[in-house]
């Protein structure tokens, strides 16, 4: 993507989520109280993380077709996804402490996320441990496809099959009310789109920087 407009749009959307997210009407719920607004800032981290990993997967599939530069792109998008996941995990831990009572609960989604992040860490280690660029690209691409499938299983499927404290998974009527709240939905989706754009921007900066330093080496 060329141009500046989509980068500015990403910032504007996130800015909107800050202003409207703090000023707008939210359901008055016990335990959650004002912290329901964390939904606008914590959940987009995960949505944009999954988006980054999906883009990474697409580049990994292209890398298998021996497309030049695809392997680097896959790796950098996964790195940004990992950053977003780290932020999502940290913000989620603070939120959990004050609503569920503990920084870490044995919620299937929390443990699934932890496993997913370890799987992606292994991807970075694997990719950095191979010297030969062609071999590196192929090996990393195959592993990244595996990592993506594991991510879907661990954060998309397994938490839905058991009881979870997270809304939309197990039975937790206290949270279900905001799932479909029409006041919150536009702000939430604006935040998701904004963070996906910012994540893409950060990844593109890293890709351009890495390509420049690679050219200098060769």
């Amino acid at each position: 993507m060329k141009g500046i407009w989509w980068k500015a749009l990403g910032i504007i959307l996130v800015l909107y989520s800050i202003i409207a997210g703090l000023l707008g009407e939210v359901p008055r719920l016990v335990i959650l109280n004002e912290t329901i607004r964390v939904l606008y800032y914590h959940v987009p981290m995960w949505f944009s993380m999954v988006a980054m990993m999906t883009i990474s997967l697409v580049f990994s599939i292209r890398a298998l077709g021996e497309k030049r530069g695809a392997d680097l792109r896959a790796s950098e998008f996964a790195q940004t996804g990992f950053l977003l996941a780290t932020l999502g995990l940290l913000t989620g831990m603070v939120w959990a402490r004050f609503t569920w009572g503990n920084f870490w609960t044995n919620d299937p989604k929390l443990n699934g996320t932890a496993v997913t992040m370890l799987i992606y860490l292994a991807y970075f280690v694997l990719r950095n441990s191979v010297e030969d660029p062609a071999k590196k690209a192929r090996l990393a691409a195959v592993y990244n496809i595996f990592a993506f499938v594991m991510m879907i299983v661990f954060i998309g499927i397994l938490p839905r099959m058991t009881d979870s404290l997270h809304p939309g998974n197990g039975g937790n009527p206290g949270f279900n009310q905001y799932d479909l709240n029409s006041d919150m939905r536009p702000i939430f989706y604006a935040a998701v789109l904004g963070w996906i754009l910012i994540g893409t921007w950060i990844s593109s900066l890293r890709i351009r920087y890495k390509s420049l330093s690679n050219e200098e080496h060769s």
Binding site: V14, I18, L22, L23, R28, E215
Partner: protein, 70 residues
Amino acid sequence: MKNILKLLLVALLAAPVKLAAQMPAVEMADTFRQDGKIYVVISIMAIILLGIAAYLFALDRKIGKLEKKD
């Protein structure tokens, strides 16, 4: 007669809303909002976001200049 019926209908429809308003209120930061302090929080978060945005734009331009050199 028609008007009275209409009024009755409105009153009936509004009744559950009134009932909901009478329920024990969940504690929210209402005083904090009335004081206008929420704007302080928004300003600070906006400054941080815009600061990071400016930094990213500057970085973007620097990388662009390097790319042009090659």
